[in-house]
Assembly symmetry: C2
């Protein structure tokens, strides 16, 4: 019976943590793993890249849409994307998890399994964490990364004449959200894209090696995130819809089913965590040129003109 399943409160903090830690294999760069006051991670080049995100149930995920495994994958992926966007490789993650005491212990295990599954795709593991009681699920992930001797690729290096390129999907998470929200069945892949972004790990360092002058991941929406690059670099960025349209035909049927302009998804939808970067020369294999960097003032243009649609997610 479901009410006999072990809960977090029933097992207690330390027993739950023991279960989550048991059997996990740490990377060779982890000299002290979970179980002590802190972990110790080797930093290959004398620097560490660090980024953190918080996900709140009902705001960043819904447990009636996502499995705990999905939530775990998403939480790791969105942090790993920030590390990639610097031109670095993830080396370790630490996780804070808050949940009600009556949460099934197997749900925490599934969350952890999802985190480990996604972390394994990056080549890193989870080296520490904290488990606390909270009125709803709250997950914080901090990712560490290694630049491998590279200079970090920042927001402020884009220069007029650079090409703008992207690797990964745009608009699929937003399309999936609209399908979920309107309870439109079918479109299983798009719906899955909203729950877990599919990232091509390694493309951030590849872009850095190819001479990327600026890079970020699309977390808030293409126009919004390119706005950060434009302002930091003091340049204009002109996105070409013709270069985007071929890739995004898959969104058209979903757009028709929900009555939404698919460009709102492609240009305004976040959470796919595609990487966008500017290059003085051709981008590396797998990247698609989608625009150009032009003279300032700092602004993002679509086909040479201002875009009137929603520009992206804000937290409040």
């Amino acid at each position: 019976m479901s009410d006999e399943r072990p809960t977090l409160a029933g097992l207690g903090e330390f027993a739950v943590i023991d279960g989550l830690v048991a059997g996990r294999t740490q990377s060779a760069n982890v000299t002290v793993g979970p179980g002590d006051d802190a972990a110790v991670v080797v930093t290959g080049d004398g620097r560490v890249v660090v980024s953190t995100d918080m996900l709140v149930e009902g705001r960043h995920f819904r447990l009636d849409w996502s499995t705990p495994h999905d939530v775990g994958r998403k939480a790791i992926a969105q942090n790993a994307a920030d590390i990639e966007a610097m031109g670095a490789t993830a080396t370790a993650f630490v996780v804070g998890f808050g949940a009600p005491g009556d949460t099934a212990a197997e749900a925490a295990t599934a969350l952890s399994d999802g985190m480990w599954a996604e972390a394994a795709r990056t080549g890193a593991g989870i080296v520490g964490g904290d488990l606390v009681a909270a009125p709803q699920w709250v997950i914080s992930v901090t990712a560490l990364g290694d630049l491998g001797g590279r200079a970090p690729v920042l927001l402020d290096g884009a220069r007029p004449g650079d090409v703008l390129a992207v690797v990964g999907d745009l608009g699929r998470s937003a399309a999936g959200f609209e399908l979920w929200r309107n309870d439109v069945r079918g479109f299983d892949e798009l719906r899955a894209s909203h729950l877990v972004p599919e990232l091509a790990y390694g493309q951030g360092p590849a872009a850095a090696d190819a001479g990327a002058t600026a890079m970020t991941d699309v977390s808030d929406g293409l126009i919004a995130d390119l706005g950060h690059v434009a302002r930091a670099s003091g340049v204009g960025i002109d996105v070409s819809t013709s270069s985007l349209s071929g890739r995004h035909d898959a969104l058209l049927a979903a757009a028709a089913a929900t009555g939404v302009d698919p460009w709102a998804w492609v240009l305004g939808g976040g959470e796919d965590h595609a990487l966008v970067a500017t290059f003085p020369t051709s981008p590396p294999d797998g990247w698609r040129v989608i625009g150009t960097v032009v003279d300032g003032p700092a602004r993002v243009l679509v086909d040479g003109a201002a875009w009137g649609g929603a520009s992206g997610w804000q937290s409040f």
Copy 2:
């Protein structure tokens, strides 16, 4: 009027973050600070120490007891204590902050000011973060640290014949909690101790340099945290109440006022984040010997016998 004060939702995520980041001075070891996808921190000795904690309103703090500044100081201090407990020095913090949209922006500023004030005591700063909407305040802090070439001081190195020593307070936070909970006035210092622990930064590395064989900070309670050392090291640890009593006379009046056994606070109360360590020789200046390490089995004794009181905090 209070309803005209700017709120997080009124200002929006990016404007709030801009306000929190403006005017802060980053340490020289921070090569990329807030504002990019991730921060970059120099790691002096090729390793990084990392620890994370999550604090939830109503569970780890109450905004009718603590000011936002207090909460910020506490959140940083308890993470810095974990770094110290490895024998390391804090080098950087990243922060996740979730709060309702109607939270006054000045409360977020005060939280951030408290974080920076405590971080400054450690010599580090806040290099990045995330700001999200949540039904109640949730704060996650991840601390990075530098071992400065030292071996980390773990839980598992205590050996029979070592002395047990402590630096910092025991039982004051628990006493303060009981005073707050029972609405007992006076005892201002003890009440303040519950809201913000006062840590002696630098004692962790000093203990490592003095040859500490095992170390932890008292976050859950002395008996509970020594239990982790005893189990990891496979030793017994015998705490001497006579060596503790002089220091803790200040608790007696508060104990009388609330009807609580003060030893429950000293031996079972957490959150003071005192450091406890074992040494083959004398501990460094400022540390007080409070017991000895004895042969296994792994257990914590008080004056040579099992202790019957509550052993410490668990999350659920």
